[in-house]
């Protein structure tokens, strides 16, 4: 021990002492001083109290919406023209995607012509090589992939957009419930979204895809004796109506009437199921999607697996069976009120984990509705979701379209004026 410390010096050492930045010798000197000096001792207490108050300030968490906005802004910024060295890597990807598009354009197209009398005529054009296992027209109801693995599917199936000449006169109310899900189909994903995702949704690839599909639609219309420029124009009007921040591809055109006017119905495909195809290692997710029949599963298996691994210790296999451990807190459930997952049964660290998961999902899937739908589930409902118990969810009044089906993007374009009718 050195000489006894005076208050003046002690006061200067109090903060470094509390902050853990004082060497041991001076620490000991200060502590010795504090024992005999109540004034300095109370200075230490006061400083500790202040620091405790500061440290007790709660951290804030970004909301899913903030994360979504942020990621969109960042992506928009990254898509700005960049120096050449970055463009280089992009070019290679774009070239690879272009090859895929060429293949898509050269392999057979299948389309259905509904004549005025309602008879269905299937017209197959330019079928080359093996029979595609893909979907054979816009009116098919069950998917079925004939036991093929996803990689076989990927290798063999390339789907073209469909054109239907129905001539049917739709009322606006019918259009509301009308949908064509070709764009959400497995084979369409494999042909277009997979390569688009591989290029990081690069704008040039997307534009190429859009152009290729538009041309394919126009060609099919021409073969059916319709004016190709008319449908081309309809597609481009429909594209201009879409949310420009979401990559979309025209997947279906139908020559029909709306309220007596000649019109083209144009359907767009969007990458809602980004999660589904983002991971090429998950063929079972592709399989799962194919089992969705006319719809596609918005909640992909990879997402379900992630959810399950966070909230359920044992998760069994690809058929969505799930065992829950007994210690999950079901007691917290209150039958009378709609309780959200995060508010009720999760411990605070799990809540944070769940929120983080949702934020990342928001950032990755660009789908705010899906996030909101997930946030709104209670514990029981989450379990049902993990188990693929869609009937159970429906019985609880959950809007399954949020999980099951991508948003419908159908546009009715006046065939002669090019105006948007619907």
């Amino acid at each position: 021990m050195g000489i006894e410390m005076k208050c003046g010096k002690a006061t200067k050492l109090i903060e470094p002492f509390i902050d853990g930045e004082l060497d041991s010798e001076r620490s000991e000197q200060l502590q010795a001083h504090l024992i005999s000096c109540s004034a300095c001792e109370s200075r230490v207490s006061a400083m500790r109290a202040t620091l405790d108050s500061i440290a007790s300030l709660p951290a804030i968490e970004p909301t899913a919406r903030e994360s979504y906005r942020l990621m969109n802004r960042v992506r928009a910024e990254m898509d700005e023209p960049r120096p050449a060295r970055i463009g280089h890597a992009r070019l290679r990807l774009t070239a690879a995607a272009a090859v895929t598009i060429l293949v898509a354009a050269s392999i057979g197209t299948t389309w259905v012509v509904l004549s005025g009398g309602g008879t269905v005529t299937k017209v197959e054009v330019a079928q080359e090589e093996q029979e595609p296992v893909s979907f054979k027209g816009p009116v098919e109801t069950s998917a079925g992939i004939n036991g093929k693995t996803a990689s076989q599917l990927l290798a063999s199936s390339v789907t073209s957009p469909s054109v239907t000449i129905s001539g049917k006169d739709y009322a606006a109310s019918e259009l509301k419930s009308y949908r064509n899900d070709l764009g959400a189909r497995l084979d369409f994903y494999a042909s277009y979204w997979y390569p688009a995702a591989a290029s990081g949704f690069d704008a040039a690839t997307l534009a190429n895809n859009q152009a290729t599909l538009t041309t394919a639609i126009a060609d099919q219309a021409a073969q059916a004796g319709k004016n190709p420029d008319e449908v081309k124009n309809a597609v481009s009007v429909a594209l201009s109506q879409c949310d420009q921040t979401i990559p979309l591809l025209p997947c279906y055109a139908e020559q029909a009437k709306v309220g007596g006017k000649d019109a083209w119905l144009i359907s767009m495909s969007g990458p809602e199921d980004y999660l589904l195809f983002k991971n090429q290692e998950l063929p079972s997710a592709m399989f799962l999607a194919s089992q969705g029949g006319g719809a596609s599963l918005m909640i992909s298996q990879s997402l379900l697996t992630q959810l399950a691994s966070m909230f359920a210790p044992v998760y069994g296999g690809s058929n969505l069976t799930l065992s829950m451990s007994a210690d999950a807190n079901t007691d917290a459930l209150d039958d009378s009120a709609p309780l959200s997952i995060a508010q009720t049964w999760l411990a605070s660290d799990q809540q944070q984990q769940f929120q983080t998961f949702l934020r990342q999902l928001a950032a990755q899937s660009n789908n705010v509705d899906l996030i909101a739908a997930l946030e709104g589930l209670n514990y029981d409902q989450l379990l049902m979701l993990l188990q693929g118990n869609w009937n159970g969810l429906a019985a609880q009044g959950i809007d399954l379209t949020k999980f099951l089906v991508p948003p419908k993007r159908l546009y009715a374009i006046d065939a002669t004026t090019g105006n948007v009718i619907w």
Binding site: E21, P58, I60, G87
Partner: protein
């Protein structure tokens, strides 16, 4: 810390910040997105403490990442990426604060959009509503008092007392001497202590 990150990292594990920067500069946009996910919470907390309200914090958070994106080419890897990120972000917050030309005062109620009390108070051992209310009020007072500090003082409080950097790290981030760190901390804390003391006096 994040389940999804770990998954995406796969067998190779989580990539370091510096590795992500390198990948981004070589054209991998996902690498930068990963940095965004990694640091979003940090930046929004920084902006919230330095600017005092949630709306500005949310806006600044976007500005910061756009700025980082533009400046990433000038990151030389001499310092740790996180040091560089804190430095750029603190400056961006400062610029934003200047642009706002706003002086936070009580009438501006920088704490008005604080989250609800219940959300801010996890299991803290306080049970009576009075205890909870008092703690929440003190948090408001501290938050507002920090918001009124000069920017230089806010920075050191945020880095040292909230983010747990030590003196040396704070000095590196702000590019100032150890002595300056200590004196700024001392002056900032003295002011905060004074305001808290005044608040407690009012309660008596």
């Amino acid at each position: 810390m994040m389940a999804l990150n770990e998954r995406d990292g796969g067998a190779e594990g989580l990539r370091s910040d510096e590795e992500l920067v390198r990948c981004y500069l070589e054209g991998d946009q996902r690498a930068f997105e990963e940095l965004v996910i990694r640091y979003e919470t940090t930046i929004i907390n920084m902006a919230y403490r330095l600017l005092g309200n949630r709306t500005d914090a949310s806006d600044v958070c976007q500005e910061v990442f756009v700025l980082l994106l533009r400046k990433l080419g000038s990151f030389r890897g001499e310092a740790k990426f996180s040091t560089w990120l804190y430095r750029v972000s603190l400056n961006a917050c400062h610029d934003h604060a200047r642009r706002l030309k706003r002086h936070y005062s009580l009438s501006d109620s920088p704490g008005e959009d604080l989250p609800e009390i219940e959300q801010r108070l996890p299991d803290d051992g306080l049970h009576s509503p009075e205890e909870r209310l008092e703690k929440a009020e003190i948090q408001d007072v501290v938050h507002e008092a920090i918001a009124r500090l000069p920017y230089k003082f806010k920075e050191v409080i945020f880095l040292h007392d909230i983010s747990d950097f030590n003196y040396k790290e704070v000095a590196q981030i702000l590019d100032i001497s150890l002595g300056t760190v200590k004196s700024r901390l001392n002056r900032a804390r003295t002011r905060l202590a004074k305001e808290l003391e005044e608040y407690r006096e009012q309660l008596r």
